[in-house]
């Protein structure tokens, strides 16, 4: 890893663009050197690194250290889009994508992931000379906001329930802000101080004008997100409309638009997760002697379809598919089965599709969690490095929001557990409590495949949440049985444990260890804190333990409110169960609805626009 600092002799910090601090990330040393010099020529202050992981580390160390990030799209250790998402979500810095590929799909992907610009290689000096505009825009707004606000807390996102001003969905904002950036500069004084923006870097490119629903940025703290997820689960993903979520959340100063936007992001996240999961599931293809690539393409839907005709992948609108760089449209969408987990991040699907699926999985397997004590970092660090799954993004988000969760290892365990063959991963769950490399054996897919839940397994591999979703939907009968017997939370796990075990319909308990392990694994994956518990539970290998573990998990949900997905997944499942009485049909419907919702919003709608479909369901 190499980090170089270019000294800008004219570092006048406030003389934008001179002295603007740029972080450049590109694995190609030639491009990086060229970029560095070009940036120096523009009189920026340049730091370079050829590893995305290192870049994230730098950014996290000090969020104020950089003004702008320029990143390549294709990098070996982490997908550029994922880095983009992480940076946007965590640090709220403008990110510019660089690529040799300027195809519409890729550019679109950049936009949806929040890039504020997309440059083609070879980059020209003239283009770089203008990139400062993205920073200035945000800075002006921020300054305005700052002067208007008195009680800002720069560490806004760390405080639970801190003033929840809502940032428009990242993507939405970025795009709208980009469009309006030129105008907004003139109107920078019109920031509405309606809600406090605690962010230090108020890089909210919101229009000062209400035209873009401008609101101070809401920081979705762990607590807030937890409430959000709880509300969504309670309502059922298909019925989760912003208005009702808002009501349930009962948070002051949160608006429906805030919720809508967040919901959109959340769904995107889920979709990505499920897409990843389905990819993996299909890869395993243990049961179907199918060509792995076809699995990938079919992904979740196939699995679903076998269950339920509604889960037709045909619903994937082209707009969604376009998000998938590689031909995995289904994958992204496919995860309706996983209760609306949005398809895997495009990068993910791209990766998997483009390469040997098994390799992808293997890559995942090989992730060795760095000895990072920050669990959250671990998790998402490792994930991105292996597979730029969207869930990695989520994990990455974890660090900032939840200190109490994620034990990457455990999540790894969870992941591995799913991937592995039932027995294998079961062992994993049990034995490798700590710091196991994420193994994503494709065998877990087998499990699912066996149950015709290919997609499900893949999801699980990715996220326990995914698993829960998949399991939930899959195990109709099991679920109900489980539900009757177990605490709802446990049911969640068991149900999907069942699903994981091929043809193990009768045995939810049959393999208590396995189930517990898987369940716990999953839970752990979902919640850092939960993991711990789960793990303990799993190791006990007793259903009861697992159940209690699950229960614990459920209880912990509130604590765990990690930013996203993990909790979300679990909660969702639970919510699903709760609301539907764990009927498979209900689940599938939810999934399908989610899918539809996803479709609707994938069409580029922002925030509340998504809901109509969902609401209609």
């Amino acid at each position: 890893m190499r980090v170089q600092e270019g000294i800008n002799s004219m570092a006048g910090a406030d003389q934008f663009p001179i002295g603007m601090r740029v972080l450049a990330v590109d694995d190609d040393p030639v491009c990086l050197k060229l970029l560095e010099n070009l940036l120096l020529r523009c009189q920026y202050h340049v730091t370079t690194t050829n590893q995305a992981v290192e870049a994230l580390k730098l950014l996290r160390e000090n969020k104020d250290r950089f003004d702008l990030v320029i990143s390549d799209v294709i990098m070996p250790d982490m997908d550029g889009f994922k880095l983009l998402e992480l940076v946007g979500l965590e640090m709220d810095l403008p990110v510019i994508m660089l690529s040799g590929n300027g195809g519409t799909e890729n550019v679109m992907k950049g936009i949806t992931h929040g890039a504020c610009d997309y440059l083609l290689k070879p980059v020209r000096l003239e283009e770089l000379k203008n990139i400062w505009q993205h920073v200035v825009r945000r800075k002006f707004r921020h300054r305005e906001r700052n002067t208007n606000l008195s009680t800002e807390d720069p560490e806004f996102d760390k405080l639970p329930n801190s003033n929840p001003s809502h940032a428009q969905g990242q993507h939405g904002q970025n795009s709208s802000s980009d469009n309006s950036g030129r105008y907004s500069k003139k109107r920078k004084d019109q920031n509405e101080p309606e809600e406090e923006d605690g962010e230090d870097n108020g890089y909210d490119n919101e229009e000062p004008d209400p035209s873009a629903q401008k609101k101070p940025r809401v920081v979705w703290s762990v607590e807030l997100h937890r409430k959000f997820v709880a509300a969504v689960n309670q309502l059922g993903i298909d019925k989760a409309v912003p208005k009702r979520i808002l009501e349930l959340m009962n948070v002051e100063k949160l608006t429906r638009e805030n919720v809508a936007s967040h919901l959109q992001k959340y769904r995107l996240y889920l979709k990505r997760l499920s897409a990843v999961a389905s990819q993996q599931a299909s890869l395993a293809a243990a049961f179907g002697a199918r060509d792995p690539s076809s699995y990938l393409r079919m992904g979740m839907f196939e699995g679903l379809q076998s269950y339920h005709p509604l889960a037709s992948s045909s619903q994937i609108p082209s707009s969604l598919t376009s998000f998938q760089a590689t031909g995995g449209p289904l994958l992204n969408r496919s995860n309706p089965a996983t209760l609306g987990l949005p398809g895997l991040s495009p990068s993910l699907s791209n990766n998997s599709l483009s390469s040997n699926p098994l390799n992808e999985l293997n890559k995942f397997q090989l992730v060795n969690l760095p000895g990072n004590s920050n669990h959250a970092n671990l998790l998402h660090d490792q994930l991105p490095s292996e597979l730029s799954f969207s869930n990695v993004t989520n994990n990455a988000l974890l660090p900032q929001t939840s200190q109490d969760c994620m034990q990457p290892r455990q999540s790894a365990v969870a992941a591995t557990s799913f991937h592995a063959k039932p027995i294998t991963f079961e062992n994993r769950c049990l034995t490798k409590a700590e710091n196991q490399s994420l193994e994503i054996p494709s065998s877990s897919n087998d499990i699912f495949l066996g149950r015709d839940i290919k997609c499900q397994s893949s999801i699980f591999n990715e996220e326990s949440k995914l698993l829960s979703f998949g399991g939930a939907s899959q195990n109709n009968t099991k679920l109900q049985w489980r539900q009757d017997d177990l605490h709802e939370s446990t049911l969640l796990l068991s149900s999907y444990l069942d699903s994981q075990l091929p043809n193990n319909s009768c045995n939810t308990m049959a393999d208590p260890v396995t189930i517990a392990a898987t369940g716990s694994g999953m839970v752990q994956g979902l919640n850092g804190g939960v993991f711990n518990q789960r793990e303990g539970v799993a190791t006990s290998g007793i259903i009861g333990s697992s159940i209690s573990g699950l229960t614990a998990m459920t209880n912990h949900d509130s604590q765990l409110k990690q930013r996203e997905e993990y909790n979300l997944g679990v909660q969702k499942v639970q919510g699903g169960y709760g609301s539907n009485g764990c009927s498979m049909d209900g689940l599938l419907n939810s999934v399908i609805k989610m899918e539809r919702d996803d479709i609707s919003y994938s069409d580029g709608d922002i925030g509340c626009d998504l809901y109509p479909l969902g609401a209609c369901m």
Binding site: P29, V30, I74
Partner: protein, 151 residues
């Protein structure tokens, strides 16, 4: 020493590279970036390029030797190589890289191998020429030779 003569030689070598399509406009950018702060920028980048591309090409060689026909992997490698070529303006190599990637898309392993041989040739020729060029520049003195002549 006849600096003028050397400089003229260097200039002519350089012009030849452009005329024959070995280099394209991107190379001008490199030259533009060379200044007092980075007086050897072009040579540094070019050196870096040859080192990195050699590594990539070794990977590709290995991948091709294995006869596994992992076109995806080959494509990924080639994409990286092409990116590098684009960055320094190695025009002919870039063209061959594109051809190689097309062969990958068509899953034409023979085509890939042929194309790769061409890439290796181009790589080697370009390297020779640029090395001569820089050597001449060095000999001719650092004055204005490093900057782009009137072109």
């Amino acid at each position: 020493m006849d600096y003028v003569h050397l400089r003229r030689q260097a200039a002519s070598l350089r012009k030849g590279l452009f005329d024959q399509g070995y280099l394209d406009e991107q190379f001008y950018q490199l030259e533009d970036l060379q200044d007092d702060a980075s007086p050897n920028f072009v040579e540094e980048v070019v050196t870096l390029f040859f080192r990195d591309s050699a590594r990539l090409m070794a990977n590709i060689d290995q991948a091709l030797d294995k006869c596994v026909k992992d076109f995806n992997k080959l494509d990924v490698y080639m994409q990286q190589l092409k990116g590098s070529c684009t960055s320094i303006g190695a025009s002919r190599m870039k063209t061959e890289c594109t051809a190689f990637r097309e062969c990958c898309r068509d899953e034409n392993i023979e085509g890939c191998m042929r194309s790769f041989q061409k890439i290796k040739r181009e790589h080697s020729v370009l390297r020779q020429k640029l090395e001569s060029y820089f050597q001449l520049l060095r000999q001719a003195g650092p004055v204005e030779c490093a900057t782009r002549p009137n072109k």
